[in-house]
């Protein structure tokens, strides 16, 4: 049984998705989602433990040996991301129950969970597979279900947002499949480990083009500046639980895929020494941090504000990776995890506000510091984490990022990283001031959100604090994964 865990992880939510679509009961579909989420969390934790103990796990699908058959490959990095996916789903699903009932038409609820399960399965598949074409298939599964999920938002503009994401996402997917096609043309293999050995560390036109297509394609999925235009609308108009889920998982898995391609498939020597991709990625990330943060400052809708902040934060993750050092990669991987915790808790807090107040525009936050103290306290802590205040996960990310930049004497990078933090103070504090210093407008039911929403929100908030106070576990795993990506050995 336990040797089949890598595939079980994907099969359980996939089967549950099909079941959820036919049972026509919202509650039952939710139950399936909850069950899958906890099964995935349990198995991913045990996989992580196994990887830490014994090193990487290879699972051969259907007994066909690689490079002919599809191989699943769980190393420290993928196990870490799997735990993140399982953990986020396990926390957000309880939140979704009442939030979804309020925001989505009751006839659609079971379809919603079906799509959510498909998306979840797709993301898990992308993370665990060791086969590039299989990865593309899972990418499409997760993307198409994400379009559906966004279109279910109660605002009519959700349709437009989903359509826009569909167009840009499809362009991205096409780019990815072209890149994979070129890799296959060059090497005749689709297996990542096999590709890594077959790709030479020298200039080669087909490989260069393949790298370009893949980087741009994945860049679209992870909303790397300036390919982020789909993200703000999608996050703003999607249902609250969906936004929280996508913001803390989808872009993170896309970053994982980018790191996989750049480091594992193409290899450090080709990507960064021959192609010097860091010279393109680092400036883009710096622009992304500044542009995302500056746009966030001017938003009147808090979900959109957080969406622009996500553009900046994803740029932090990619920036860490593009430093091409163990410290930089550690920073990137840590921030991938940490940002999921921060944005998850912030979007969940906004979900609570949506549930009680029916709007997440900044005017609607008036007086919420008094009427919804727990929700707004969660928002403040999540915001401080985003800023990078000590004892939150944001500080740990920032510590490693600054260290990575200082190590290489990159002062401009250091300055932009910290400037981004300070811009975060501005956009978070705009909300804090309205919530705590302005009087409530008076209409609306008032009162604190129900416990079924508050408990998941606070679970993520506490995770922000816990992993900020004792980061030895996460930084150890991220450091190990970083050494692995750099080809320095380790589990």
């Amino acid at each position: 049984m336990s040797e089949h865990l890598p595939i079980l992880l994907v099969v359980v939510p996939l089967a549950a998705a099909a079941l959820a679509a036919v049972i026509r009961s919202g509650r039952a579909a939710w139950g399936l989602m909850l069950l899958s989420a906890w099964v995935v969390l349990g198995s991913s934790v045990s996989l992580l433990a196994q990887v830490l103990r014994e090193g990487r796990i290879r699972y051969v699908l259907g007994g066909w040996p690689p490079p002919w058959g599809i191989e699943y490959n769980i190393d420290l990095l993928s196990a870490f991301v799997l735990v993140l996916l399982g953990g986020i789903a396990a926390i957000i699903t309880p939140f979704a129950l009442r939030s979804v009932e309020r925001e989505i038409h009751s006839a659609q609820v079971h379809f919603h969970y079906s799509a959510l399960l498909l998306c979840f399965a797709g993301l898990l598949g992308m993370t665990s597979t060791g086969d590039v074409f299989n990865l593309f298939v899972f990418l499409e599964i997760s993307s198409i279900s994400a379009y559906t999920l966004i279109a279910m938002g109660s605002d009519r503009r959700a349709l437009h947002a989903a359509f826009r994401y569909l167009i840009m996402g499809s362009v991205g997917a096409t780019f990815i499949v072209i890149g994979i096609g070129m890799l296959y043309m060059m090497t005749g293999s689709l297996n990542m480990a096999d590709l890594a050995e077959l790709i030479p560390a020298e200039r080669n036109r087909t490989l260069s083009v393949a790298l370009a297509f893949l980087t741009v394609g994945v860049g679209l999925k992870l909303a790397l500046f300036p390919l982020h235009l789909w993200l703000p609308d999608a996050y703003t108009f999607a249902p609250s639980a969906v936004t929280a889920f996508l913001a803390s998982t989808a872009t993170k898995v896309a970053v994982y895929v980018l790191a996989r391609f750049l480091f594992t498939v193409f290899g450090v020597a080709f990507t960064f020494e021959v192609m010097a991709l860091d010279r393109i990625l680092i400036p883009l990330c710096l622009f992304g941090i500044l542009a995302g943060s500056l746009r966030a400052i001017h938003q009147r809708n808090v979900k959109r504000l957080l969406a622009y902040s996500s553009v900046a934060q994803v740029a932090y993750v990619v920036l860490g990776i593009s430093l091409v050092s163990v410290t930089g990669l550690t920073a990137g991987i840590l921030h991938l995890f940490n940002h999921a915790l921060m944005k998850g808790s912030l979007f969940l807090a906004m979900g609570c506000v949506m549930y009680k107040v029916g709007s997440v525009r900044i005017e609607a936050m008036r007086g919420l510091g008094r009427t919804m103290p727990w929700t707004m306290a969660a928002f403040v802590i999540g915001g401080l984490s985003l800023v990078g205040v000590p004892l939150t996960v944001g500080f740990i990310s920032k510590w490693y990022l600054v260290l990575g930049a200082v190590e290489q004497g990159r002062w401009l990078v250091t300055a932009v990283v910290l400037l981004g933090s300070l811009l975060a103070v501005i956009y978070i504090w705009r909300v804090v001031e309205v919530a705590y210093f302005e009087e409530a407008s008076g209409n609306g039911p008032g009162g604190e959100a129900p416990l079924s929403l508050l408990i998941p929100t606070w679970a993520l908030v506490l995770a922000n604090l816990y992993f900020g106070i004792d980061a030895t576990l996460t930084s150890g795993i991220a450091g190990g994964a970083a050494r692995l990506l750099m080809g320095l050995g380790g589990p």
Binding site: L391, V406, W429, S475
Partner: protein
Amino acid sequence: MSPESLTLLAPAIPLVGTLAILAARRHPNLREGVTLLTAVSLFVTVLALYPVIAGGGRPQVVLLEVLPGLALSFEVEPLGMLFALVASGLWIVTSVYAIGYMRANKEGHQTRFFAFFALSLASAVGIAFSGNLLTLFVFYEALTLATYPLVTHHGTSKAKRGGRTYLGILLTTSIGFLLVAIVWTWHLTGTTEFREGGILQGAASPGVLMALLALYAFGTGKAALMPFHRWLPAAMVAPTPVSALLHAVAVVKAGVFTILKVVVYVFGLETLQTPGLTTWLLYVAAFTILAASVVALTRDNLKARLAYSTVSQLSYIVLAGLLANHAGIVAGGSHIAMHAFGKITLFFCAGAIYVAAKKTEISDLDGLGRRMPLTFLAFFVGSLSVAGLPPTGGTWSKWYLLVGALEGGHPVLLGVLALSTLLNVAYLMPIVARGFFLPPGDGWQGGLKEAPLLCLLPLCFTALGCVVLFFFPQPILNLVGLLP
């Protein structure tokens, strides 16, 4: 109890106090009782550590490991002992004063006020006892955030604006410069611990050291070195007890304390004596001393004038530290205590004047000294101490500062200090003179009208403290004398 557990207990007491204050929110008398009890037990705990530290002990406690090799840890040494002693001792006095002040002015949100006050003290003690740069940074940021609700206490648009400046400058400097300096130090030395003799010795070229020193000096925004001083006047929108304890003692002293710690335990005096390393920063500090005094002269609002005076006085300590010799360190360390007593007295008086006469502008104080003689007498004593004149404690720190400047070979600074003393007299004494010698502006018919007793007693006590410290400065001088 062992010194280690006392070390751990000290920051925990106000933390528990915060929760207890919140729990007692429905019973104001009980709540204030909790504040006083917390303050007294904190002071007793800190005091119990005094003989250990004076005897050369350095209790250490490692709280937990945040990252491999980076721990949250406490270590008590003379400088931290002094800072904790001053902050916790004056907290008792301020609590008494705050109860009188908040009630007499019928201020709102008193539970929030006292709770965050206790939280601020917990952060201040955390800073005082921090065993490495990381721990110091953690509590430094905590202090900024814990004082924010106190600064914006009134919730008016003026308070909100003040709060923005406060948070903006303090976070910009700490995240933008101080954090970089700490990470850089970690990169160079592989440690963030405070060690006798410093950790940076021989770890970097003079150019890098100079850049690092600048990052530390300007990154510690709480030390209010120009041009990063604007947050301090902005913080004066807070109720006066906050200005008195936090923005004349705990917060600002946390800033200069950080600089002294960095000078003594991160750079080490020997490293800083490299020719040319500190010179330009010495002149920045000297400029701040003079410029802030001149600005203080032009301010008619009493609290604003005191705030600029604080900016100027903080740079005395920065300058003293940067002299990087024994006399300088003694001057800087003792000035933390001496200035605290002087300035808190002045703020207490400003608050008492507001409570009793609702006056905030200096030009309105004509003749008020005849109505409030004790308050104005205390103000006079506090002014003497701030200016560094006998018979007050401020004399001693200024004495050592002059010695340090001479030993360091900076005769120009002697001139700066002399000029600054004159300026101090020029912006403080007219207030006293106005109160006693000018005819009252409004129809005063004679008779005394001092502030309520709970406000009056604390300011008499601290004024008395200024005088006592002139005759018995030994406990403080002995403590800082242990420093290199």
